[in-house]
């Protein structure tokens, strides 16, 4: 095969793109990947990884407040923000290099360029380093170009006072006050991070419930804790106008019931969602369809144009790295004709939020289940009833399970509290294997662990809870 012709070309090197490339290489396909910035995409460089690194520093910072509780005292505690940020950059770089190695190991051709569809099965690459354009072709092109923060007409990020997530993870100094627009996962993670560093945090949410995607019980639980921590939550509200005066932002916040609040803060962080990177790709010359800024695909990530596929954040929600990675595998296996190619099941995608307290969920919320006509059984178990939780001093949290009353199907699981992001996988495995309540009840969970709450929550759904 000539040098400019490939079995699969992946456009974008994030968790969708690089996983697709690796899987394709494993299946013996000649693969190329085109990335205009750094391998690893947003997730590795400006998303998942750096934020979790930052949040870890915040977590440790917070535990310093409680040293006395655990019989320890310390003086002269200092916070070095530069070092905190530097650490997150170091981890991101390390992982990005790791992806470079994986590409090499799998003999995937890497192009550092911006690609555009320039004909049937053809891409034209424009290089950052000034080299002349190159054309490559493949019968299978996978678009994994990801997404970028959504902007609001009245709130435009300037990198100085109005931040997107990228700016928010590179602070030069700890702001004294911030306003976060949007209470989704990204918004609340930054709220939690900055609050733990001592910043005065206010969150504005258009809807009635913070973390609107989560189960109501979890959101309410979270709201109580956040407010106790001093985070101000303004729900049913939106930012009308902002004005930058003398390096401070003056924000006019209007509540849906008519009230008006005026806030003066150092920075505004925009966290109102994302839009897919569908521009400048040459899609206008193809049959590829988009909706609301995202490419429309079928269960195996095919677009309306034969030979062009799309995965990850550039497609429909949920916009999660693991969803992108699984779409990548399913897409490539389908292209390769593997019988076992398995499309992503939406209800089986866990979602994690790494604020403090952590939140993790999978499947249907209570409201969604009822809306779909299910008769349900609900089980709840609080952290305060769990031995390990008490031992480690993390008593605030909840594990909620939702079952279909007739079939015993696990419809959804929702957790809030310490370490729940590491526990949700149990529910994910169970759901994938199509468990009923019986198998979960019969599973032996080790003691003493937080995971026992999973067991008790299931028992509670069937009036058999032991420790409550």
């Amino acid at each position: 095969m000539p040098d400019d012709s490939f079995d699969i070309i992946v456009v974008g090197g994030g968790p969708g793109g690089y996983v697709a490339a690796i899987r394709a290489a494993q299946l013996g396909l000649k693969t190329a990947i085109i990335e205009k910035e750094s391998l690893g995409g947003v997730c590795l460089n400006w998303g998942c990884i750096p934020t979790k690194t930052l949040l870890r520093s915040a977590e440790i910072r917070h535990s310093l407040e409680r040293l006395d509780e655990f019989g320890i005292s310390a003086t002269n505690i200092k916070i070095d923000l530069e070092k905190i940020v530097a650490r997150s950059r170091a981890v991101a770089n390390q992982l990005s290099n790791g992806i470079k190695h994986l590409m090499k190991k799998n003999k995937i051709t890497v192009f550092n360029a911006h690609a555009k569809i320039s004909g049937k099965n053809t891409l034209t690459m424009n290089f950052n380093d000034g080299n002349k354009d190159q054309i490559i072709s493949s019968p299978n092109i996978i678009l994994a170009t990801g997404a970028r923060p959504k902007e609001l007409p009245n709130i435009k990020p300037d990198g100085k006072n109005v931040w997107t997530y990228k700016h928010a993870m590179l602070p030069k100094k700890i702001p004294s006050s911030i306003l976060i627009v949007g209470s989704g996962a990204i918004g609340m993670e930054f709220a939690s991070f900055y609050r733990d560093l001592g910043t005065d945090v206010t969150v504005v949410e258009l809807l009635e419930q913070i973390l609107p995607a989560e189960d109501r019980d979890i959101s309410d639980f979270a709201a109580k804790i956040f407010e106790k921590e001093g985070i101000k939550l303004l729900v049913n509200s939106q930012v009308n106008t902002i004005e930058i005066k003398k390096n401070k932002v003056h924000a006019n916040i209007e509540s849906n019931n008519g009230g008006n609040i005026h806030k003066v803060i150092d920075h505004v962080i925009l966290a109102v969602g994302i839009v897919g990177n569908v521009e400048n790709l040459g899609l206008e010359n193809t049959k590829v369809l988009t909706e609301n800024g995202h490419i429309i695909t079928n269960e195996f990530s095919s677009t309306a144009e034969t030979g062009i596929y799309a995965i990850g954040d550039v497609t429909a929600p949920p916009w999660l790295a693991h969803k992108a990675s699984h779409e990548a595998v399913a897409c490539v296996e389908n292209i390769a004709g593997l019988k076992k190619a398995h499309p992503v099941e939406k209800d089986s995608i866990p979602a994690c939020t790494y604020c403090r307290p952590q939140i993790a969920s999978i499947g249907l919320t209570e409201a969604a289940a009822i809306n779909l006509g299910h008769k349900i059984r609900i089980g709840k178990f609080p952290f305060s009833g769990n031995g390990k939780a008490l031992s480690i001093g993390e008593t605030k949290g909840l594990v909620k399970t939702i079952f279909d009353k007739d079939t015993g199907e696990l419809l959804g699981a929702h957790m809030i509290g310490a370490e729940v992001t590491e526990l949700i996988h149990g529910f994910a495995i169970a759901k994938n294997l199509e468990t009923t309540e019986t198998e979960l009840m019969q599973t032996i969970f080790p003691h003493p662990t937080l995971s026992e709450m999973i067991h008790e929550s299931v028992l509670d759904a069937y009036d058999q809870v032991i420790h409550m």
Partner: protein
């Protein structure tokens, strides 16, 4: 010297059986005690154990072969150092009946017909067919009364998952709601059978015994040319004799059926052409003993214990024998061994205790006849031109026309009737 494995006789009256399943493959080494294969007859399946040591050199009669005569060479064991070319001159040794599996079968009170034993030749694992289904799918199927065996799985390794059950349920509903008046335009050549207004139902998997009964009776009805003769017998004398005999001793309690069994035995001795079988291929088999199978109903089915040499047993012996056999037949697990319910050259079935006037039973192949006995009841009869009352019992004989003609069968029934109506003649 190569050793022949022969089709064993699993019971004294067994003449042929099916090689249901070879448990060893050609080339496998055999030790004494190893199970070689499963042999199936119409009522039981037994495993054949090897008494010899060696290598299974050749499977002569493959898995699934039916109607293999007893003593046919079904396989050959090569002793150490022998070559396959030595085959053909094997010395005969009979596989020892596996006593353990015999007992085991009794405890299971069922037998496994060859249709149910999976031929594992092409499978990697030698396990019985296991239906893979997720826990949720299993439960949903149960709730919807769906048989997992009829559903194809779309999950990993063909696992049945939730959406397969959902599809099966909606397919069932679709069948029921399809509008039949509009002809379906279809390019497929399969026209689905449209059912509508199907009544509510519940499916259950039947036991092995029921499966065997079902298959044998279906085979009988389909293969055997039945004809039926009915005769009415006045049993007042018989009832009187029975009463008298029963008063004489506490040691026995004779039933009407005991008399009928005796009468049939004698009648068969007098009309031996009825004590025969049609063997496929145009062979008429005349039995030299009179073994009568008596239908006994047990939980979940029906079994026919055999009274051997019935014509040599008096009423008391007949009574005790059938009583004991019936009692053990009704035990759980069923307490009869295969010899006790296999074989027989003639059958009797009595539904008189249920008030049935008369019925026509289905022949138990390879027997030639079965007598169906109805209720003895007071009926109006004509005696010497005038109306009288007598206790009358209707007996219907189902006959295999390949073995017995009308006239012979009629003769038998006449002889039987005379014996029943004049019970004293049973002493002769």
């Amino acid at each position: 010297m190569p050793i022949n494995i022969l089709m064993p006789a699993l019971s004294p009256t067994m003449t042929e059986g099916n090689v249901a399943n070879w448990l060893k493959n050609e080339g496998d080494s055999i030790s004494p005690g190893d199970l070689l294969c499963e042999i199936e007859t119409d009522k039981a399946t037994m495993e054949v154990e090897s008494v010899d040591e060696g290598i299974l050199g050749k499977i002569v009669i493959p898995t699934g072969t039916e109607n293999v005569e007893v003593n046919t060479v079904i396989g050959i064991i090569l002793e150490e150092g022998e070559e396959a070319s030595d085959l053909g001159l094997g010395k005969t040794t009979e596989g020892k009946k596996d006593e353990h599996s015999e007992k085991k079968l009794n405890q299971e009170k069922t037998s496994i017909p060859s249709e149910l034993v999976t031929t594992n030749n092409n499978r990697d694992d030698n396990m019985v067919e296991r239906i893979l289904a997720s826990p949720l799918a299993k439960r949903m199927a149960k709730q919807a009364n769906l048989d997992l065996a009829n559903i194809s799985g779309s999950g990993p390794n063909g696992r049945i998952v939730k959406k397969d059950i959902e599809r099966a349920i909606s397919d069932n509903l679709t069948l029921q709601t399809l509008d039949v008046t509009k002809p379906e335009h279809t390019d497929d050549h399969d026209v689905p059978v449209l059912e509508y207004n199907t009544p509510q139902y519940q499916d259950t998997k039947v036991s092995n015994m029921r499966k065997v009964i079902a298959s044998r009776l279906q085979e009988s009805k389909q293969q055997v040319p039945h004809f039926y003769l009915t005769i009415d017998c006045e049993v007042d004398e018989l009832l009187k004799t029975r009463k008298e005999l029963n008063l004489l001793s506490e040691n026995y309690n004779l039933s009407v059926n005991d008399f009928i069994i005796r009468a049939c035995a004698i009648a068969l001795r007098k009309v031996p052409e009825c004590n025969a079988s049609w063997i496929n291929g145009g062979v008429y088999r005349q039995y030299s003993t009179i073994d009568i199978s008596v239908a006994v109903s047990i939980e979940d089915g029906l079994i026919t214990p055999v009274i051997k040499n019935a014509d040599n047993l008096g009423l008391e012996n007949i009574s005790k024998t059938i009583s004991n056999l019936a009692k053990r037949a009704r035990e759980k697990p069923m307490g009869l061994s295969p010899e006790e319910y296999q074989g027989g050259s003639f059958s009797i079935s009595n539904l008189g205790m249920f008030g049935i006037k008369e019925f026509k039973a289905i022949i138990n192949p390879p027997q030639a006849m079965i007598l169906a006995v109805g209720e003895a009841s007071q009926r109006p009869i004509v005696k010497d031109g005038a109306l009288a009352v007598a206790t009358v019992m209707s007996c219907s004989l189902s006959v295999d026309h390949r073995v017995v003609d009308g006239a012979t069968a009629a003769n038998f029934l006449e002889v039987l009737k005379n014996l029943i109506e004049e019970p004293l003649t049973m002493l002769l």
